[in-house]
Amino acid sequence: MTTRKFIDIDFSRIESDRMRLNVGPQHPSTHGVLRLEVELDGEVVTDVIPHIGYLHRCFEKIAENVTYPQVIPYVDRMDYVSSMNNELPYVMAVEKLMGIKVPDKVEYIRVIMSELNRIANHQIAIATFGLDAGAFTPFLYLFRDREYILWIFEKASGARLLFNYFWIGGLANDVYPTFKEDVLNIVKQVRKTNQEIERLLIYNKIFIDRTANVGILPADVAINYACSGPVLRGSGVQFDLRKNEPYSIYDRFDFEIPVGKGEVGTVGDSWDRNIVRMREIEQSCRIIEQAVEQMPNEGDVQQAIPKKVRPPKGEIYFRCENPKGELGFYIISDGKDKPYRVKARAPSFVNLSVLPEISRGYLFADLIVILGSIDIVLGEVDR
């Protein structure tokens, strides 16, 4: 596997000092407290070493010391921009372990919420990606829309970011009466903004020049590094757990899996990873529209919530398609009310590991763009 050399010069021939640059933990575009130790030859990146752990909160150890329902608030705090999606695999894993069948209405609300949160997450990803490339205005347009989505979450769950809304066997509370109209309005607004962002940012020639052919991740490398989510699909691999391994009620909806096609550059470049997110927003809108249409109005969202969450002895690995990739929870139960072990397979962490591989040989400015295109959240990387 070869990485593209930025200039056709054999750098080893020229005697020069390499510069070691510390990017982060406090830096405008490390998306949190990531520290990158970058080795630069002039402005060409020769090596990147990500240092993580500045936000480590011992999620897995804490999870062993609290009861099953109490883990949910901690799960929220892993990928704090898509908390609903984090809760889903955890509660579904425990439900599966306990053999609980949740009512249809709960499933629909869960899907709608997850997809809304997927939109919100992708909006942040695209916005900060644009910001990394230097475009400030699209960032605020997308954040404005994300705010509208958060209002729905706040009205439904009472919290804007860390919801604790999906409970084992149900939901914390039912949605409010005008929920459906609100969601449909949001979908309309999201579509409108998406078109605008496409014209303002995505197909802007400067932006294309900055991101296309930068950080090319070939499909085989992506699979070898166990990348998932838009990072994998950007490389042209059509793999989406919602389709390939349908969980919840995703088999009831009609949607497509957008993949990177190398429209303006090579398959698997930063632009492709980004456009996959753009297209996924559109697909999420479709899912939401179908879900809102099919969602039953009647039904008690709390009827299946068990009195005591005490799964039988056993273990389970359950994975869901998160906005950032495959989030899986491996839970071992020893029959007590506290899990014996909870292991989270965090997509950001796995995706971050591919960064050094795809950023060697590019300019320093490209490194920032590549990092933005991977879309990591340090809360999930460090847990």
Binding site: V71, L162, K205
Partner: protein, 185 residues
Amino acid sequence: MIDYFKSVWAWFHTILIGMKITFTHLFSKKVTIQYPNERYPIPHNAKNRLQLYPDLCNGCMQCARVCPVQCIDVETIRVVPTDPDKPVMGDGTQRKLWVSVYDIDFAKCCFCGLCTTVCPTEAIKHTTDFEYSSYTREGLIYHFSAMSSEQVEQKKKLFEEWSAKEKAAKAGKVAEPSSVEKGEN
């Protein structure tokens, strides 16, 4: 050569498109507001600062137990039959426990709302108040107990007297009077 001119044209063209979009936004309605003067409505079920209604709290400690971050600190004193107050709770039932300490540390609170759902008497509730920042960490510890320190002392004394009496009665009933009295445990 054609590619070169095409890309130069694309540069120019897409920049103009972007400028058009930003120009239309220049005159569009602004979405931000003047925060302390104007506010967005907060839904009534918003999970913000917790509020305890002490006359409803029966001291069952479920909230303290369910809290994932242990930010609630509850201490109770048993209500003795000899208590002159004959305390009654908010819903009219007889109070069994005095809640002498009910502290919530909002520096720790994670606003998950679990305490409000387990509370059998709905004594603890989330409010819509989110502006309670403090200069000190101590300022974020809220003391919700309605009892004054003298009251607590008095109730404790009552309970000690009562329990000593009970113990003595028990001891006298079961066997010979024990030589050493246990002070406290």
